[in-house]
């Protein structure tokens, strides 16, 4: 399960984009993990995530924080998306002082995550996972500006056609950029979609596409 790993974009585009997961370990600390996961979630929530969710319950744009919190059970994996590094440093300091006991994983630009960990007094990253990109028939992929948006939902639930349709809707005055960003956040059940970055890259791609095309 690597759905926050393959976000696309350069350093500048990704440096304020973090998905922080709280994950109990099957066979070790999963039994009895619900209160630990709730504790992690409450700490993370205080630090101001832009999105947050659990894939089985949904995210804060589909439901409420109280609902997500109450439906945490042993084994639930929760994910909190942040849009700036200072919030990550604050979160890490809190987690260092008050460890919930489950594994915590941050998807983000490696150097930035490492700096944040140093600032919080957490030392080096423990284990990491690299994305080596997309191989095979890459000509089947959407254009890179659209890819940056759709890869924010690692389950690929934000359809590239939806992005194009939203461009058309905005250009025809049918909906606002903010509405589009909210809708993309709703498609990404787990809460990995970063609305701040999403809005920025959506505004960047607006001038690149014409309105006629589809449907």
């Amino acid at each position: 399960m690597t759905h926050s790993l393959h976000r696309r974009g350069d350093y500048e585009c990704l440096k304020d984009d973090f998905v922080v997961l709280g994950c109990p370990a099957t066979g070790v600390n999963k039994i009895g993990s619900a209160p630990k996961t709730q504790k992690y979630l409450s700490i993370a929530y205080k630090c101001g995530p832009i999105n947050l969710g659990d894939m089985k319950t949904g995210n804060i744009h589909n439901t409420t924080m109280a609902d997500i919190l109450s439906r945490v059970s042993d084994g639930t994996i929760v994910q909190c998306t942040f849009d700036n590094r200072d919030k990550i440093v604050t979160l890490l300091k809190e987690l260092k002082n008050d460890r919930p006991g489950i594994s915590v994983i941050i998807s983000g630009v490696t150097d930035v995550v490492q700096q944040c960990m140093h600032e919080a007094g957490l030392g080096y990253i423990h284990s990491l996972e690299y994305s080596l990109g997309t191989w095979g028939h890459t000509e089947m992929l959407p254009d890179f500006p659209i890819l940056k948006t759709v890869t924010m939902c690692g389950h690929a639930m934000i359809a590239s056609d939806l992005v194009r349709k939203m461009v058309r809707d905005v250009k025809r005055g049918r909906r606002t950029v903010k509405d589009c960003v909210k809708e993309m956040a709703e498609c990404c059940t787990c809460g990995n979609y970063n609305l701040t970055r999403g809005e920025r890259i959506f505004r960047d791609l607006l001038p690149l596409y014409t309105v006629h095309s589809l449907y």
Binding site: M1, S4, L5, H6, R7, L21, C23, A25, T26, V28, N29, K30, M55, K56, G75, T76, I77, K96, G101, I102, S103, V104, I105, S107, G108, T110, D111, Q114, M117, G123, Y124, I125, H126, S127, L128, E129, Y130, S131, L132, G133, T134, W135, G136, M140, L141, L147, V150, G154, H155, A156, A159, S160, D161, L162, K165, C187, T189, C190, L214, Y215
Partner: protein, 253 residues
């Protein structure tokens, strides 16, 4: 996903939500004069459920029938809300490095190699999943498949990576092959994937996992740089605060 032909008014509102893109066709209703409905290409649809969850159909014409084996695996791997019971982890893969600090899945000198077919937004048939799995196992590098992963469960021969014949025609939004090998075999693993990339009909993303040394070195970096293989500036990073910690270096004895 299916469409009730008596309800659908062919308004096309559901079309742009489909991550598989333009897999719907128009049909003329045989019994209701002047009425057109849509049909979803059942071979191309991965049962991801996005069109239904979008809650956009004005007449509630979309419905997801209960699918039997082998088609049920489409939903298991493609719909984020469906859990694969065998892994006990919500989603379509394993915990991989997410719990490495606690479980010690990837020890120093080992590298996790994951290959996720179909992502992003293309989808993949299991014949392609089999092609990649067999390429990895055929490379004879001691690639150890992750037991709890759904794709491993669908194999008829785990030593060769051969999948059950009845799943080969099924399609998923994404399916991951997960496993690990010794760090020194990573170049061979990546070369096997480079070769297989020429033969698949879809796309796949490649991910590699490593334990970072206590001095902050990333052992696989040198291998990737020597081979000239691109890796992203962003990574998934386990920060090592899970409890109880796995004793990686035998220091607590």
């Amino acid at each position: 996903m299916k469409v009730d032909e008596d309800k659908c008014i062919a308004c096309k509102r559901c079309f742009p939500y489909c991550p598989m893109g333009k897999i719907q066709t128009f049909k003329r209703h045989e019994k209701i004069h002047g009425r057109v409905y849509i049909e979803i290409d059942q071979d191309a649809c991965t049962d991801c459920g996005m069109c239904l969850r979008a809650d956009i159909c004005p007449v509630q014409a979309l419905y997801q029938p209960q699918e039997e084996w082998p088609r049920e695996i489409r939903g298991i791997l493609s719909n984020p809300l469906i859990e694969f019971k065998g892994s006990q982890v919500p989603g379509r893969g394993t915990e991989e490095m997410k719990t490495n600090d606690v479980k010690g899945t990837f020890k120093p000198g080992e590298v996790g190699v994951g290959i996720e077919l179909g992502r992003p937004g293309v989808g993949a048939y299991f014949r392609d999943v089999e092609l990649i799995a067999m390429a990895m196992m055929g490379a004879n590098i001691g690639y150890q498949l992750a037991e709890e992963n759904p794709v491993t469960h669908f194999m008829s021969d785990k030593t060769t990576g051969k999948l059950r014949d009845d799943v080969l025609g099924e399609k998923a939004t994404s399916a991951i092959i997960e496993g690990k090998c010794k760090l020194e075999r990573l170049p061979e693993a990546l070369r096997a994937l480079q070769e297989a990339a020429k033969r698949v009909e879809s796309v796949f993303t490649v991910e590699v996992i490593t334990k970072v040394t206590p001095k902050g070195e990333v052992p696989i970096k040198a291998v990737l740089e020597k081979m000239g293989i691109w890796y992203s500036v962003n990574t998934k990073n386990n920060i090592g605060i899970g409890l109880p910690s796995y004793d990686f270096y035998g220091t607590s004895k």
